[in-house]
Every structure is written in C-alpha cells, then in structure tokens.
C-alpha cells in the first residue's frame, strides 16, 4: 500500500471538521483560538478561510460559556462542534457538561436533542505538567447522556468525528496530544467509524490487551516485544469508551483467558476498574488469572521529563505486566 494517502492525526481533525461543515449546514465550530489561529495545534487550519467566521467562531476564555453555547445552540437546532483545548480545562465547565449537556434530554422527558460534538485533548508526554496532561475520561464516562470516543489513529480520528457529528447526542472526542504528528492512512472521502465498536488491531491467542488512545501504540510495541518471546498478544482498541463494546472485550478474553487493561489515566478510579469488573462479571470462568491493569500511579502528572517518563505507562510496563500475568497463571 505504498501509495495510500496519509495524514497526520491532527490533520485528520481538520479534514473531518471540513467534511462535517460541508455535509451539515447547521454545523459550526466554536472554541478558543479555533478560527484565526486555526487551533493551538492546527486542528482547524484553513477552516476560517473556507467557511468564514459564522461557521468557525473564536470564543473568549470562558469554558463554561463555550459549553453553554454548544448546549443552547444544539437544543435549538444547530449541530455545534465545540473545542475545549485540553480536557484538563473541563474543571471550568463540568456543570454545563454534567448537569446540562448530559441531562437535558432526560430531564425534559426526551423532548430535546443535543447533537453536540466536543473535541478535546488528553494525555501527557510533552512536559506540560499537572494541569495540561491529564486523562480524565473517567469523569465523563460516568455520566449517562454522554458518549465518549478516544481515537488512536488518524483514520479513526476522522471517522469518529464524522460519526460524532451525525449522532444526535453529545459526543466527546478525546484526542491525544502526543499522537498529533502520527501519520496514518486516511481516505479523502467522507466515512464513518461507528460509535460503540471496538477494533481488534492485532490478533493473538495468549493474552488480550484492552486499551485505547495512545496506549494502543504502546500496546502494539509491547505485543511485538512479547511476540519475540513467543507470546502472542491480542490488542483491542476500544475506540469508544461510552458506549463500550463489552461484547468484543469479552470475546477476546474468552479466547485468550488472560487480559491486561491499559490506559494512561490514573489507575485508581480509572476506566480500567470498570473494564476489569465487567470482564470478570462476564467471563469469570474463562479467566486463568486476575484481570491486570496498567495505569498511571497515584500522583499528579509531574513536570520533569525523568519523572514524567517514570509516570506514564509505556510498552515496557505493559510487557512486564503481561509477563507477570503469564507467570502467575
């Protein structure tokens, strides 16, 4: 596939945004520095020139206002894409997220629809320290009324953003900072990656690695290392976190009988707990060993590169965990 068209992960955001604005006349984009600057990482480069400042709107630094804008606009018939630069900033707008966006439809007895796409970024690795490096998807996955996706590849970025924008519910698209320059195949035309469907990115028979976002890449590297030692890991990229493709997870675990759940978020209270609990609920008799979890330790994200490296889960740690798991069983 030498001549496959490639885009960066961040380039896929721009292309998806453009596609959505072309396809849906009621779609617009709003956020801090999305228009004039094209997004602080270039996610929306070119959109302003092509679509004008009615369709892409710079906002003040007012996250609660931004989400409110999205909620109000969506409830009244538009299809907003709102950008919350880093998901760490959700602290400034959790009320509009949790109490308004997530609940309005239910509280109104189903009479309101909220077709909002929220685009935001998670993860560390670029030395941005405690307030710009978090993976807080556990907060939003715990909120009925929201959907959450976390793409690992440029292909999924585009397909999931387009799916999100067509969905009549609020969908969070949680991008990953350290993946922005990763290149991958992205078809030029419009396509969707369905919400709620996991993806087996590597087949294997000895152990399942259930993961999402940038940890998919780390898990693939780990799988390569493991393979050199004769251990064939199956890697499952969840892609959607809410709804979660429990069926796919369980299917994989039934096959391999051993599983490690991996995420970059803090281990305690992270989604890994939910996933592990579900696995042992649904596949208890298949498990040869406890469901293992790899996640960040219990501290804020440190600034110093040496500390940050010790902090963020990586392929090495996944390999160690898998080896321990196989030895234990």
């Amino acid at each position: 596939m030498a001549d496959e068209r490639e885009l960066t992960y961040i380039g896929a955001v721009a292309e998806a945004s453009r596609t959505v604005l072309l396809e849906q006349e009621n779609a617009f984009i709003a956020g801090e520095d999305v228009a004039g600057a094209g997004g602080v990482f270039g996610s929306y480069r070119g959109i302003l020139d092509e679509f004008g400042d009615q369709r892409i709107v710079d906002t003040p630094i007012s996250e609660e206002g931004i989400i409110g804008l999205g909620v109000g606009a969506a409830a009244t018939g538009l299809r907003p894409i709102v950008d919350i630069m880093f998901m760490d900033f959700m602290g400034e707008c959790m009320d509009e997220i949790a109490n308004q966006m997530a609940k309005m439809r239910y509280m109104f007895g189903g009479s309101a629809s909220l077709p909002i796409t929220v685009i935001t970024m998670s993860g560390g690795g670029i030395n941005m320290a405690a307030q710009h490096s978090q993976s807080l998807e556990a907060w939003i996955c715990h909120l009925p009324g929201l959907k959450v996706v976390a793409p690992s590849t440029a292909y999924d970025v585009k397909g999931l953003i387009i799916s999100a924008s067509r969905d009549d519910n609020p969908v969070f698209v949680v991008l990953n900072k350290l993946s922005l320059r990763n290149r991958g195949h992205v078809p030029e035309e419009s396509y969707t990656v369905p919400l709620g469907e996991a993806n087996v990115v590597r087949e294997g028979s000895d152990v399942s690695i259930v993961t999402y976002s940038r940890m998919v890449g780390e898990s693939m590297t780990a799988a390569d290392t493991l393979s050199e030692n004769g251990i064939e890991a199956e890697v499952l990229d969840l892609r959607s976190l809410q709804p979660m493709d429990t069926e796919a997870i369980v299917e994989s675990v039934k096959k391999t009988q051993r599983v490690v759940v991996v995420h970059e978020a803090v281990r305690f209270g992270g989604l890994g707990g939910e996933i592990a609990a579900q696995i042992q609920e649904d596949a208890f008799d298949y498990l040869d060993a406890p469901v293992a979890r790899v996640g960040a330790p219990f501290s804020p994200v440190p600034f110093s590169p040496v500390l940050e490296q010790a902090y963020i889960p990586n392929a090495g740690r996944i390999v160690t965990e898998v080896n321990e798991l196989l030895n234990a069983a």
């Binding site: 206002g65 409110g68 606009a73 007895g109």
Partner: protein, 321 residues
Amino acid sequence: MELNHETLLDIHRRMVRIRTFETEAGKLAEAGKIPGALHLYVGQEAIASGIMAHLSNEDWITSTHRGHGHLIAKGGEFGKMFAELFGRATGYCKGKGGSMHISNMELGMLGANGIVGAGPPIAVGAAFSIKYRNNKNVAVTFFGDGASNEGSFHEAANMAALYKLPMLFVCENNGYGEYTPQANHQAIVDVADRAAGYGMPGVVVDGMDAVAVYEAADAAIERAKAGDGPSLLECKTYRFFDHVGVRGMGLSYRTDEELAEWQKRDPIHMFESRLAELDVLSKDDAVKIHEDVLAEVQAGIEFAESSPMPDPATLLEDVYA
C-alpha cells in the same frame, strides 16, 4: 409608550395565571402532596408577564429553579404543569424533570434549572442559533440576584455582548439568594451596574410594575433585533413566599414588616388598580378572571391527580436520542 388594551389585558391574564397556579401549588406543597422542592414565583409575576408578552414560541427563554412563572407566562398548560410537579407520566417532562426542570421545547422554554446560574450560557447558545439562522427572534435568560455572582453569568454576558447576540439578561432581584440578603452576597446595590463591564446597557426597572417591565423589554428587544446586542434588565422585586414552599423552614432572615411593605406594592393589585383607572378592566371583571383562572387551575390539578404515574419500564428511556 401607549399600551393598547389588548396588551394590558394579556399581561394581566398572565400574572393572574401565575399567581393562581403558584398559590394552589403552594397549598398542595404544604399539604405534602407535591414531592421534592417547590420554589414559587408569587410576588414576581410582573416580570415574567411583562416580558413574555413580547415573545412568541420562536423566542427562547431559559429559566431558574423558580421557573413555573416563566413557563406559565410563555404559555404553559396547567394540566401538564401540575402533572409534572406531581411526577406523572402526562407531565411536560413525563415526570422525569419535576418542578426544577419543567420545560417545553415547543413553547420555546429551555427549562427551569436546578443549577443557579446555568441558564445564561445556554441562552447564549439559543441566541447564537437565532443569529446563525438570521431569524428575527430573541433569547431571554432569567436569573436571580444570587445567580449574578456565578461565573457562568459573567461568561455568558461577555460572550453575548461580544457577538452582539439578540438576547436579554433579565435579573430578577428579589433581594435574597435563599436566606442571604443581597448586601451579604454582593457589595453593589444594582446588578445592572455590571452591564457596563460587558459593553451592554444595564437598566433598573421596577419589577412590581408590569408596564415598566414591558416597556423596558420593548426597548431592549428592539435593540437586540436591530443587531445591536444584548441588554441587562434588572427588575427589583420581592418574593412573597419563602425560598422553598410557602412558609419554608421558618428561618427569620427577613422581617414581617419588610414583607408587608413589599406586599403593599403587589404587582397584581397595582396593575388592577391601574386597569380600573384606565377603564380597561373593572374590579368585577378582574374578579371574574381570577375565578376563571382558578377553575382552570383546579381542572389542571384534577387532570394531574388522575394521571398515571410513569411506568418504571420507562426509567431508562430518553437518556439518548
């Protein structure tokens, strides 16, 4: 500004509808017949009525925890409202929302809200929608003096002024946030003074005078529709009932004298005197309207009481579209 008789009668009717609904709802609440917490609008009727008299179903409003008055003035039906307060399947929200989330999209009512200050940002979105489509409508957000201290108000006001959105910020300053008097929650006397800091006009209005409210809203709406951006109307008012329910928790945070002083300026009594003077509505005809509305309220209560509870099987419906 010369108000025609029709408009005056329309405003009057809205006020009476609110007063009667709330009074009866209060009785039911005190009798333990309504689950949860009710925040009643009695005393503040002139505001919702004077403003809503300008609006159609295509104009959007956001409301507060004290939201019945806004929905009634926007055209809410008593039956569906009581049904919602009672938690019945026939309520505006199928019983899922209750008093604090009562809403109706068809009437352009984006919900009461249990979160103080949550409405203004949502109204910004509704106003953005109107502007995006080039409609000639407005969005109105109602909020209290207490809510004016939430950051959400600030962000919304700034954004609305920045984008010159067709919007009204209506602060219903009843002097208290729960049991805290205004002087203990902000160092200013007029919330309208905040408007200048966003670049919008701020106007203080007598919130007990429906005509004053109507006229101030008229100017602000005209401005909004002309593309000149939002305004902040601060309506000075008072709630005649307690923060929750009628007598509430019996805390002594305000005096009987203060209440009595304000009751002398009861917005409905004042308005009826005026209408009588203007020969628009005689005292007798006013009584008749009160009676008619009361009958309608009672029919609403009956409808609600005879409505079925929601089927528990519907619990997980309406979470997602």
